[in-house]
Amino acid sequence: MSKRKVKETHMPVGECISQVQMILRERFCHQRLPEKPVGMESQHKHLLELLRRTAVHGESNSVLIVGPRGSGKTMLLNCVLRELLEVKDVNKNVLPVHLNGLLQTDDRIALKEITRQLNLENVVGDKVFGSFAENLAFLLEALKKGDRSSSRPVLFILDEFDLFAHHKNQTLLYNLLDVSQSAQAPVAVIGLTCRLDVLELLEKRVKSRFSHRQIHLLSSLSFIQYLDNVRSQLSLPQDFPDTKFYDEWNDSIKTLCEDQLVVDVLQSHYNSSKDFRSLHLLLMLALSRVSASKPAIKPTDLLEASRVCMVDSKANILHGLSILELCLIIAMKHLNDIYEGEPFNFQMVHNEFKKFLQRKSHSIHNFDKPVVIKAFEHLQQLELIKSMDSSTAKIQKEYQLMKLLLDHSQIMEALQKYPQCPTDVKQWAMSAFG
């Protein structure tokens, strides 16, 4: 604090707010790498050392980074690469090749992509020449010609590593790992995956060639650390132009994080998932409520954001249904109760609905059957009910077996919130049987 410039510049509040939003959005949308990966120091060191040895000593290696989704695998790798490329010796010496299992869905495409990224001599412009077999032979020949001390190390980064294991014969993996285990051009094969059982996917000869180094990213973050992290994520950097606003904002964030309401919201988020991606989504929603007239995040903003995040999507759909459709849903619920979750068809639902109309209903008049069918089909389109038969061909529409994709609690909750729901419908829903 003391080191900051004495001269204080003032900007209009609107400009400050837009600055804040820009900085924080960059952070939340993962457009900028953090200074240092949080909570994974040892993994960071391990990976950095490994890649440095490949880059500097020309030692071939293979490693898997395993961790659940959103645990920061890619972020860790990118941090390491950034750090690695800052070293002067390394900068011009490594050739990173990025592959993604979702993009390179088979070895043919993957090979072309590798050749393209390595810019080997059979690449003209963006086009890779030759057949699949030629490409493979060419790449292998290229890697074979290299040797430990004179050729540039190649870093193969395989995102969604598990998907590569589903390629035919695992040719690509075998060859990459084989190169990493033989005296050819130095390579480092880095796989990123969220599957813990990824090694079981590898064929035994492929597995034998893999070095069995796995870096696990399993965050054992406590809630206190989580909270600290939220604070640092929301705080402004020191080089923010307007010092007065900087102080105000950071103070407001500090008080925000001590607010009991906020702590509760964050706690429930923490309980649900520890990864930062969902946290960033929450903070992003809260941030979007900041404006020039309200230049700080209030606890209610966060509460509202968390409500948006946690909302049950199906309950929302239920709110938009017509009374008839709602009645059908209730009929289905009763059927489920009676038959213990066995599938039902339209005819059963319709009968149930008619019984209700005859016995109890005063406010709802009779609908024609085609209208009811239409309503039923609408429910099916909304995927609130799902057909159990694999082929819909033979059976008439009325007799197709269906299942309800809603939970009792969801139905009851929706009824409570439904605007101007007739009382007899509500009662029917709450009664034990029909």
Binding site: N93, L140, S211
Partner: protein, 756 residues
Amino acid sequence: MVRYFTRLRVRRIYKWGGRPYIFDRKLKSYGFDVEGQEAVTTVTPGQYILIEGNDDEYPFVAKLLKLFGDESHKQKKALVQWFLRLSEVPQNKKLLLGRSPHPQEIFYYLGRACDDEINAESILGTVHVQHVPEDTPFPEPGTKDTLYVKLSWDTKAFNVLDPVLMQDTSASTPPKPAESIHSASKLSASKILSAKRRGSAADTPGVRKKLQLSIGASECLYLRIRNYRAAAMKRRPIVRKRPIVRKRPIVRKRPWRGRPEEEIARPPSGPHTKRPARRYVWLWNLLDNTQELISDGDDDCFVPSKKELQSSSNEEKTDSEEETDSEEETVVKKTRGRNCKTSVRTPHKTPSKKVTPSTPRCATPCIPSRTVPARQPGNILEEARARLHVSSVPESLPCREQEFQDIYNFVESKVMDGTGGCMYISGVPGTGKTATIHEVIRCLQHASDMDEIPTFRFIEINGMKMTDPHQAYVQILQKLTDQKVTADHAAALLEKRFSNPAPKKETTVLLVDELDLLWTRKQNVMYNLFDWPTRRHARLVVLTIANTMDLPERIMINRVASRLGLTRMSFQPYSFKQLQQIITSRLNKVKAFEEDALQLVSRKVAALSGDARRCLDICRRATEICEHSASHPSSAGLVKMSHVMEALDEMFSSSYITAIRCASLQEQLFLRAVIAEFRRLGLEEATFQQVFVQHRTLSRVEGLQPISLSEGLAVCQRLGACRLLLLEASRLDMLQRVRLNVSQDDVLYALKPVRD
């Protein structure tokens, strides 16, 4: 304008001429026998000849020393001194030349591996060879029909050629027209005849050229080769179409062994097509130079005038220039040639094969080299790590002495006898199968360098390193001859190579790694691989490697398994003592490990898999841990038990338990709900809906706010993504079935609150 093109066919007749020496072998001379207009090449001892080989474009070159035959003159033999083209020098030795070779350069062969007695009927014709002294540059590429020799090759190195060896060359080089009386006298007559017949030449299908090169008088025996061109590749600007009538009885057929592909692709191409004519470039040129055009006209065949010949030979020259200058691959050349011709010819009906853009030939596969050289290992641990890397080639290969000896004996005996055979080697991954064979080959290469055994070629293919089993043919052919062709064509060429006798054949040792990947439904790849060694002239030794011991019984049909034979060997997983020995020998006096630590690693690995790779990887990791644990890298001591334990833990421990411990509260709760539901149902499977009911109850018990269904599904999907749970497709929503991928006990153990 209608043009029609015919195909070139060539047959040759070999006859003796001159008077034989009566040697210990009985020789018989044969009178001059003129028959028709065929081109006659006469070769005499002392001349340089071309000999039919595997490669149609680059026939073997040799100097004819002696000709002899047997009584019945059925067999005609020749004694030769071989010359080598650079393409025949083994791939790895080419670098020894140290400069880029001249396209016309050949080498005097000093080795002994090649049989210098050949069948005279494989002689194609003569060629001009010129000796160039070591320090003078090659002559300007003016005459394309001349080959230059500068160095000799003794299978190990290139040496300066002793000019004495080439001495008599100079005497006999220009095949001087001693011009047999008959030819000289008939020359003028032939010219008249041919001129006269120019008009009617159109309907004559064949160009028969006659070429006679005569003899230094000292040699009595010479060989006359008559080339028949049954249907010449001559395009004539004549409109008439007449069927080709071949009058002369064909004396002896030598089937044109063109490439099948060529024959299919070529038919309607004109006289300027390079391919079929190319083979005779030499002959044409000779004809041209010596002007020994003879025609005895008692047949209505067309003899091309000198001018025509000139022009065509010029063309051939440019062709040959092209092909010799750029050592390009044939496929590319062909397409190029074809392309430039299409413009000229109108109804070009060449069944154009789909020209896929193939790898540009100029492209050399290489990884760019680094600007700063790699750093060398600095301290003991780094040194140890470098030595322990699987890729580092050990000084010796311990623990496989018996296997080594068996394979060595097998291959050596086959190479010595010049026969063929198969061997099947099995063993789990990481037991040193490939390494042992490489070691065997290295020793054998050494032995052949020391002239203890004949030279042989080693070729290696790997089932995993090809995209399709049939690519095996392509790779083998490419490694044998540097040709790049399609799989079918390669199979045909290999078939021919291995089934036909050929001069100058050395044994080929073929290593087929990951054999099981070469399995096809008809198993023809495997069949061929195992069938070739049984051929008489193949001289092929096939060593195959796979992981399973019973592979031949399991996947091979009988006729394949039978050809593979019973020479089997299996590599047992390493025992802990062997593993320990391997590490020790690799470290080779670099003191980086404590004895106990080494023993721990080897015992652990031997108990699990006996995979040497794994063992080395663990040791390497242990050195890293040791280095990190030390405060300063240079102060790190020996790798201790604790470091090894840590490395073992890292590599062998399952991560499931840690993963469950690190999961979020709701995720842990969900796992508990899954187990509770399983217990309730008595099954190992439940739908999400059922589990979610349990989950809700549990969260009430725990005093947590129950989560919504969407959120519950998200939790479930997260667990499914890291495979703690096995899930059905997510479109089933809450009806998807859930199973555990970990044992229930593990989950409960992991969820027990840790007291510390």
